[in-house]
Symmetry: C2
Amino acid sequence: MARNRIRLSEVAREAGVSPATVSRAISQPDLLSPETLARVRRAADHLGYRPDAAARALASGRSMTIGAVMPTLDNAIFSKALQAMQAQLAEDGYQLLVASHDYSKAAEAECIRTLLARGVDGLILVGAERIAEAAQLLAQSGLPVVMTWCAPDGAPSVLVDNEHAGLLATRHLIALGHRRIGVITGATRFNDRQRGRYRGARRALEEAGLTLPPALACEQATTLAGGRMGCAQLLDLAEPPTAIVGGIDLIAIGCMVEAQARGLAIPADLSVAGIDDLDMSAHVSPSLTTVHVPTARIGTEAARMMVAILRDEPGPTTLTLPVDLIVRRSTGPAPARG
Amino acid sequence: MARNRIRLSEVAREAGVSPATVSRAISQPDLLSPETLARVRRAADHLGYRPDAAARALASGRSMTIGAVMPTLDNAIFSKALQAMQAQLAEDGYQLLVASHDYSKAAEAECIRTLLARGVDGLILVGAERIAEAAQLLAQSGLPVVMTWCAPDGAPSVLVDNEHAGLLATRHLIALGHRRIGVITGATRFNDRQRGRYRGARRALEEAGLTLPPALACEQATTLAGGRMGCAQLLDLAEPPTAIVGGIDLIAIGCMVEAQARGLAIPADLSVAGIDDLDMSAHVSPSLTTVHVPTARIGTEAARMMVAILRDEPGPTTLTLPVDLIVRRSTGPAPARG
DNA sequence: TTTTCTTTTGAAAGCGCTTTCATACAGAGT
DNA sequence: ACTCTGTATGAAAGCGCTTTCAAAAGAAAA
């Protein structure tokens, strides 16, 4: 930390007031008379005063810092949510401290521990699955926590209905006449988002009296390459599916790439639907039918909710954002029965 | 901040030593006798002691926090670098404080100001262009700064030769016999990476005695959609190019999508090369010829360099990482002269 | 044995800010 | 005039840790 910085007491001297007054000018300006406030502000500007965050945190017990625990930053949906979160928090004077665990529960616990030690004022988490140790850390700390994407009932959270998303995508394909529908999700272990989407897909099939043979469901890395591999696997079956649902858009796009590389036409030979609605999904060819998940808004709303809780503002503490089917060009009627 | 936390003094009492000793057990364990150290550690573990970061920062003048100023997180290359950076820093006991400015210079200055006030121990920046105010803030603060991707001579930095990358991609196309080569970059204003790549492309053309007519160079958003638009623009020319260089892979992939959507075969009708080597670039169809930029390593090395500087360890303070041409399937011989 | 280091520990003074608590002084009410 | 508010400011006590500085206790040197 720069030790040559202007201190509050110097501003106080320059302005001819006590340190307490300068402190109030910063954090509770309405307590001061307009003249004093102006004088202090002038002095502060003149000296280029910047309060020391560590000292404020120590003295006030508030660090104006929120911790975010993400699975990874190396995925557009999370980095996008993060971006939105940080923009919103910045607006309210909070800073974001980021940690990512790469889908490891142990690493997640470590992230939480580190952020707690860092003295964050609140924690925003993605997903609701965590080991007992992590859960206990959170409970002990007594810090406000906002969960995103998924959460247990009652906990403050900004959610999307992942199951509904899986349902919408799959129903759409069923409505188009598909009967053999493949489902490629990311690993469902320690990933309740993917699990929910998978459940939704199953439910849609059950509703329609269809089944999901084990061969038609597979788990892959949540990457384009994973999508290609999963698609290859399904297409190599004796009875390949006529449609595939990807647990995330990247997987779905990988499916399209693989199918096209094999000379299949989309959607004539194979329909593909995703979930997420990445920016790029509208721009691939053919454009991807998907379920829109308001990723950035999750970030914004989680940040808002966090700040509201910290300020003791009343308001809903659980918010479910809608997901919508976006029909584009990658899905079409099932080929006539062969 | 949780006010119910165990304090250092309580550990001291439990261990029957002075607070100073507990403090040393944490930060300079070799100063203590093994027995004392063990006793203190046992007491700390037993009570579940976690030092308060704000208090440590205030007392020691070091926050063990590094600030990173990124253009955006909504781009795989930056989020990937960030991810690597944070992993490396975590290993050395540092935390990352992230701020992004979305390619706005004013916002960048504000980011820097905020991070400085936050009391970071050092700053990692992407790119070297910034307004005078920001540069002055940095100079005044006297904090160690590591720049990445681009930097002025002499400043501590982890670089890639963007110009060379542009050169490699373009030379490759020229070697394949292409003469009309289009160049689509991201906005070059306040983006020295894109500018460098563009310069490299020009230089390659000049080397070969070719020119880059203004119509064949365009700037687009650094997204897949931007690539599609730029490609559409170039293909609609009376004399369209036979090859296109994208300033980043996402643009190049957008070009492929657009060309394929128009029924063009790649690389038979149009060659496309990118720069970055995203994970997905190897998996699109056809796979993308590109220049590999060691994105994650930039993050890791920048973090390492930062820590080395903070520890006053000797070592090089500027590191240039190599970029390599990766020839894949999206580029091929120029079509015979029409 | 005495002196001189070293090594290990403790006492105490902050780090720069916030926040009671107390005080001073307006103006309002009687 | 005299209390009763309420508002604006200051004094001073920390927040939980680090870090001199000094002291105590051995070990090594003389």
